[in-house]
């Protein structure tokens, strides 16, 4: 196996469908060789002048493609831009690459992206594969159901169909908490949503913020239920060993807290001011966050 990624040549990302329809058919050059350890260093990123960031296209309000404008927008996108501003001096120097829960880790490991801001929970398992920034958001797993559903809490899922995506923490959590639930797995949440609408599944489970985004698409028929039954510290994924970038990102996060930028982004996308417990989790190190995540799973 190869520990790290590769010295990346220019990597193509789909910034928008428009761009994809135009001239971005240049090949992502195959890497020269495997396992050259360090990956793309901060210096290389600076020389290249763009930060390649993996974001989700199907996870409003964190990252979603607006079909009207063909632009990806969301909380994670704004965080990525803010970090680019701190690291490269210009918030426009970001190349957004669509990722899914399934492929964000390999894409990071093989250097196709420098970082991802993709609703990823910091877990001990993932920390074995990649590094994370300090915690930049705290979410909790919850349930999205139809308005007329009688599911009140996660325990009610026993014997029911619940949907989530492959390779996500909610999958593991729900299997652990409700072993009798039937878990349907897709590549992305869009299929989960269609399955909930047409009755194939009884609930979708994932982090509350994503569920809230889905609810807003169809507020007449959908509701959140079951409260937050996990502690999900979000981190920005960074390739293992890329400590320079990790350090820069963490500094950027700190700056964003200090100059109020983070609060603005929070208000813009989550429509509420910073929560009271903000100081308890914001900026806690990845190791600490992962440990807390681990402890709660043991206690439940």
């Amino acid at each position: 196996g190869n520990g790290g990624g590769n010295t990346g040549a220019q990597v193509e990302g789909v910034v928008s469908p428009t761009a994809a329809g135009g001239g971005n058919n240049a090949a992502g050059t195959p890497a020269a060789g495997a396992g050259n350890g360090g990956g793309t260093t901060l210096a290389q990123i600076k020389q290249r002048g763009t930060l390649n960031v993996g974001v989700k296209y199907d996870a409003p309000p964190f990252g979603s493609l607006d079909p009207k404008t063909n632009e990806v927008t969301g909380f994670d996108i704004d965080v990525a831009r803010a970090i680019a501003k701190h690291v490269l001096g210009d918030e426009k120097k970001v190349k957004l690459v669509q990722v899914s829960s399934k492929n964000r880790i390999p894409l990071l490991q093989n250097g196709q992206i420098d970082m991802f801001a993709a609703t990823a929970t910091i877990t001990p398992d993932r920390l074995k594969e990649i590094d994370f920034s300090n915690t930049y958001y705290r979410a909790g797993q919850s349930l999205l159901v139809k308005k007329d559903s009688d599911i009140k809490e996660y325990k009610d899922l026993a014997g029911k169909n619940v949907c989530t995506v492959e390779g996500s923490t909610p999958e593991e959590t729900i299997r652990r908490l409700v072993p009798k639930a039937k878990v349907t797995l897709f590549e992305s949440y869009t299929e989960c949503l269609s399955s909930l609408r047409n009755g194939r599944v009884d609930a979708i489970t994932t982090d509350n913020v994503l569920l809230e985004g889905f609810r807003q698409q169809d507020p007449e028929n959908l509701k959140l239920t079951g409260g937050l039954f996990t502690f999900e510290p979000y981190g920005l994924g960074i390739r293992k060993g890329n400590t320079e970038l990790q350090k820069a990102v963490n500094e950027a996060l700190k700056n964003m807290q200090d100059n109020g930028e983070y609060a603005k982004i929070h208000q813009k996308w989550l429509k509420e001011p910073l929560p009271k417990d903000f100081k308890e989790w914001y900026g806690t190190s990845a190791q600490e966050a992962a440990q807390k995540f681990e402890e709660q799973s043991k206690s439940q």
Partner: protein, 217 residues
């Protein structure tokens, strides 16, 4: 059904159509290149070359395209080779269709009388020159109809690139329908767009087939 969704998102779907055309066209070029090389390998006097060609064809023809695409997309990065989504799609379609193109060309080549090759070799042309200048031009003429069918298959198969997040016709349709919940009309619209590519191609294939048959009378 809410057909208006199709009108509202017409430009998006059109962009998807362009991506499908782009991926298909590049994939076809690659498939033809691979097909020619592999077909020549398979009819060459060299036994090893024949074995390599046959292995390629048998392996690729018997594995699902989706497995091939996922392998290029998520498996190759494991060993340090990575391509963009577009290149992944083109490679997957090209490598897969190339095996079928090779078979079509091979039977086309084997349909050319042996005397053609002998005449070319006897006049001092090298084996590759004889193939390129004498055999392949004749073989390709005979294989245009089956190659047309492979092209139609390739266009349809290009829809699999939507699974690696390329916004081709189907990818766009999935995106639109997940936003609008108008699954049936959007997918029917996508089907119509695919038909707008494949049906003309099928007509051309039929026309060519008829002309070919007439030419041999």
């Amino acid at each position: 059904m809410r057909w208006s969704v199709l009108v509202d998102n017409f430009d998006l779907l059109l962009q998807g159509l362009l991506i499908t055309i782009q991926v298909s066209a590049l994939g076809l070029l690659l498939a033809l290149a691979i097909g020619v090389v592999v077909a020549v390998l398979r009819v060459t006097p060299n036994r090893l070359a024949r074995l390599v060609g046959a292995s390629y064809v048998e392996f690729v023809r018997n594995v699902p395209l989706l497995v091939l695409i996922f392998f290029i997309y998520t498996g190759l990065p494991d060993v340090g080779i990575r391509f963009s989504e577009l290149v992944t799609g083109v490679l997957g379609l090209g490598i897969y269709t190339g095996a079928f193109v090779a078979e079509v060309l091979r039977s086309g080549i084997q349909g050319i009388p042996r005397g053609q090759l002998e005449a070319a070799l006897a006049s001092g042309l090298s084996y590759l020159q004889a193939m390129r200048l004498v055999i392949l031009p004749q073989a390709i003429r005979n294989t245009i109809p089956p190659l047309g069918n492979q092209t139609i298959n390739l266009i349809k198969n290009s829809s699999l690139v939507s699974t690696i997040s390329l916004l081709d016709i189907l990818g766009t349709a999935n995106l639109i329908s997940s936003r609008t919940f108008a699954y049936a009309p959007v997918l029917l619209g996508a089907a119509a767009l695919y038909l707008s590519l494949t049906i003309p191609a099928a007509f051309m294939v039929n026309g060519l087939e008829r002309r070919m048959r007439a030419a041999y009378r």
